[in-house]
Amino acid sequence: MISISHLMKEFTVTDGKVAALNDLNIEVDPGEFFVIVGASGSGKTTLLRSVAGLETPDTGSIKIADRTVFSNEPPVWIPAQERGFGMVFQSYAVWPHLTVYENVALPLKEGAQKIPSNEVDGRVKQALEMVQLEEQIHRPSTLLSGGQQQRVALARAIAVNPSVLLMDEPLSNLDARLREEVRGKIRELAKHLEATVLYVTHDQIEAMAVADKIALMSFGKLLQYGAPIDLYRNSNCAEVAEFFGTVNWLPGELDGDVVKTKIGEFSASQKSIDDKNVWVGIRPECLAFPEEPYNSQPNHILADLKHSVFLGDQYTFEALSSDSVLHGKSRSAPKMQSDRLHIAVDPDDVMIFAADDSNSTFINASMAAN
């Protein structure tokens, strides 16, 4: 449905040029809820705005359902108003001088689509019903709460029956409780409309909650894209692994099937690396407390408990093993065996990354920051 290839864009800044989009290739299938995630400055918003037609890339091409909307060779440029998308903006961009009804109706009446005027009324009402705003229909939009304005923006975007729905951090201005509620409704609505959605957020939880597929961007580059569980469990690099949650990093050496580290040996059920120097990554929730005593098998660690904190739904703890600090999370309190902590890790939960320049630089910086 959306086909992005070799997309490049540079911005001129005070000390040179910065690549906002660096040779990006993405395929989004029809009906897919596709989330672009990344830290600020990663280029995710530039990518979305390029698809929308609000930003012109330097090179590459963007196709929507086989219609090229941008390409540098041969030069093609379809302006935003002729692309026929719906978009929800970070600020909602609800027009303050118009009522709720007028906000939704304006694109229908005066947009490029030219909806017959006898259909406009029905389309507006239908869209507002979908976001449960039919009771506010004739209110001035400035009198609405933040959550209601967000729904007006959503209604306006879906009313035009867009081939593609674009959303730029649509939840970032809502308070935390509302955010969780609304994100579920947005996904529900998109699936109901069978719309293809391109959704930008900086929040990895939000991304995983709504996405069919996630693309993670960093400094203009696409690091990895795929289903949320793939990115979480089968990250292709250390940066992807850590973006979606904390990781305990241990340097080690590959020796046959096991990795030797300072705190013991580890083996992973999946391993596609032949490098000698590697990084072992273990997420905090993967540290378990087995019943049996410690026996120096691979994936078993003996550690000292530094401290643990009860947070209601979970305990968090820090353990020290041969100068390495391990951060852990567990449902039950850390279980001591004669004053020490016996920790075991499932081979499925052991991630191994090559200790190449990019991974090592990233991990060292991340460990220095903690």
């Binding site: 037609g53 012109t56 440029w77 692309r83 026929g84 719906g86 978009m87 961009a93 304006l106 005066e110």
Partner: protein, 567 residues
């Protein structure tokens, strides 16, 4: 936005820039020509500059201009600054009335004050002088308004409202906790004033002073009304004399061009100084956070004295001049008001001598200008603003400077450049000389800086995504402007429109230089009667002009209040 959009906007924005560049270019080029200028026979020399500097009158005009500007600045700041402080920082009562009075003061043209004070304090006919010589049996008139100091005083009265507006904003933005800190640490009222309030206010005061000095140097209408008939020249009126000498002499366009170039350089330097002082002031920009509430200084019964001061100012600057103009229109000859003079008042003088054709022509032209100029100004300024605020290319810096330039260029010089352009460049190919179009074009140029600045700041308040939402929804550029931006900018556009309309309506600088038989404006009719000594006819036309001006002012008022409320 992307670079491929808005060719229409680009053209609209480039148009005024192009005209400005051409005007300045023509001025510079002609300033170096002698002989038959504007043709291939012209010689390129420095003669004009040499003639200018050796002209005996120029030294005197320069000296007069300095005395005039200094006096005008002292008087306007001496009145405006205390009223601003009283209004913003003390417990004086009825403050919105002060704002109302001062805004009204800003709208009443300086020529009214100038005419009124001529009736009051002219050496020969001034009523004050007549009374004084009578009562104290003097042989010589004690006051002479037709001096640089006298004219500076009148100009100062007229600019006091501006001094007030410029400094009131500063007092409002100043953080009162800095003054409170001084008080708590033992400084008294005067100590706080001297060591904290005034030093903090200094950059803003200095900026206001420079702003008013720039106006003082370039101003034409007041010195022309009072000084020209008495052959007291300032630089601006000297330019007029060189461009419009008596019948037996030739216009010295080369010299006016040379003087124009020098004035542009001086004006640019002063404006550069002004903006660097303003930036200096921003460093002190003692930020006013939320919930900020100025503590007002209790002046108790002094509030009455403060109000007396304001009332005396408004009577001297506006009320008496207006009353005297009305009086002068109906008396057969000018003499101090008395029972006898009142019994002689009639419409006869006006009816017999007024050239109604001329007045109607002036009224028609002025109405046309008021209808056309503000509208064109708004469209062009909107295009420039949009490209400055929303544009990403480097052209926006060019536009920013270009839109700011006319603000720094004295109107007298723009008028001279327009004459030179029409006489020596466009000539007969595009016969613009003596047309309303030429006047309209120069008016648009002179108004565009203010309009652009006002729209810039309004546009900055409008989130870019409101426009982008419209584009993505399928609305074209033009529709987006019309359906989203124009409604949201309406309060600003309205007040800029009316403000421009009022300034165009009363304009008497560019008009004096550019009018001829066909394109005369109403203020220029006043000017020509006044200059030919028909003071009663000049006063009568002024009254007619006021009748039309009043509804415009009320309209400004109404929209001003509405836009304040909607903010």
């Amino acid at each position: 936005m992307h670079s491929k959009s808005s060719p229409t906007l680009m053209v609209l924005a480039a148009l005024p820039m192009f005209v400005i560049v051409v005007l300045v270019g023509v001025l510079i080029s002609i300033s170096f020509q002698s002989g038959i200028i504007g043709t291939s026979d012209a010689k390129f020399t420095l003669d004009n500059y040499r003639d200018l500097f050796t002209d005996p009158i120029i030294g005197e005009a320069l000296y007069n201009t300095i005395i005039f500007s200094v006096t005008a600045t002292l008087v306007s700041m001496g009145i405006g600054l205390p009223i601003a402080w009283l209004t913003e920082r003390t417990t004086m009562s009825a403050k919105s009335a002060v704002y109302a009075i001062m805004t009204l003061g800003l709208l009443i043209p300086g020529i009214y004050t100038a005419m009124g004070w001529t009736f009051l304090a002219h050496e020969r006919i001034g009523f004050l002088n007549r009374w004084a010589t009578q009562f104290f049996s003097l042989t010589e008139a004690p006051i002479n308004i037709a001096t640089p100091i006298g004219m500076g005083f009148v100009q100062g009265l007229s600019l006091a409202a501006l001094g007030f507006i410029l400094t009131a904003q500063m007092f409002r933005a100043m953080n009162p906790s800095l003054e409170e800190a001084a008080k708590i640490h033992g400084l008294g009222f005067f100590g706080t004033m001297r060591r904290v309030t005034l030093p903090l206010a200094m950059p803003a005061i200095l900026a206001a002073v420079i702003y008013i000095v720039v106006i003082g140097i370039a101003t034409f209408d007041v010195p022309a009304i009072i000084g020209l008939a008495n052959r007291v020249y300032l630089i601006s009126t000297y330019v007029f004399e060189k461009a419009n000498p008596g019948d037996e002499e030739f216009s010295q366009h080369g010299i006016t061009a040379a003087l124009g170039v020098i004035m542009i350089v001086v004006a640019l330097l002063l404006t550069w100084w002004y903006s660097s002082v303003l930036r200096q002031g921003d460093k002190y920009q003692v930020v006013t956070g939320k919930g900020y509430r100025p503590t007002l200084i209790d002046i108790g019964h002094w509030g009455k004295a403060a109000w007396a001061f304001i009332i005396i100012y408004i009577i001297a600057a506006k009320v008496i001049p207006l009353l005297l103009i009305a009086y002068a229109a109906f008396v057969p000859y000018l003499a101090p008001p008395s029972a006898k003079m009142f019994s002689l008042m009639s419409l006869d003088g006006i009816m017999e001598n007024m050239d109604w054709d001329l007045v109607l022509r002036g009224l028609k032209n002025t109405v046309l200008l008021v209808l056309i100029v503000p509208a064109v100004t708004l469209i062009l300024a909107f295009s420039v603003s949009w490209l400055i605020v929303r544009g990403r290319t480097r052209t926006r810096y060019v536009l920013e400077f270009g839109a700011f330039l006319p603000h720094a260029l004295p109107e007298v010089i723009l008028a001279v450049a327009a004459i030179l352009l029409s006489l020596f460049v466009l000539k007969d190919f595009v016969p613009l000389y003596g047309t309303l179009t030429l006047i309209a074009a120069v008016y648009v140029i002179t108004r565009i800086s203010f309009a652009t600045r006002a729209i810039n700041s309004a546009l900055l308040q409008i989130h870019k995504e409101l426009e982008e939402a419209a584009h993505v929804s399928g609305l074209s550029e033009i529709r987006t402007s019309w359906r989203i931006l124009v409604p949201l900018l309406r309060p600003t556009l309205m007040s800029v429109w009316i403000w421009s309309a009022i300034l165009v309506y009363r304009e008497l600088t560019v008009a004096v230089f550019l009018v001829g038989h066909d394109n005369i404006t109403l203020p220029a009719v006043i000017w020509s009667y006044w200059n030919s000594g028909a003071t009663n006819l000049a006063a009568a036309v002024t009254l007619i002009m006021t009748l039309v001006l009043t509804p415009l002012v009320l309209l400004f008022w109404w929209f001003g209040r509405k836009s304040v409320m909607s903010n």
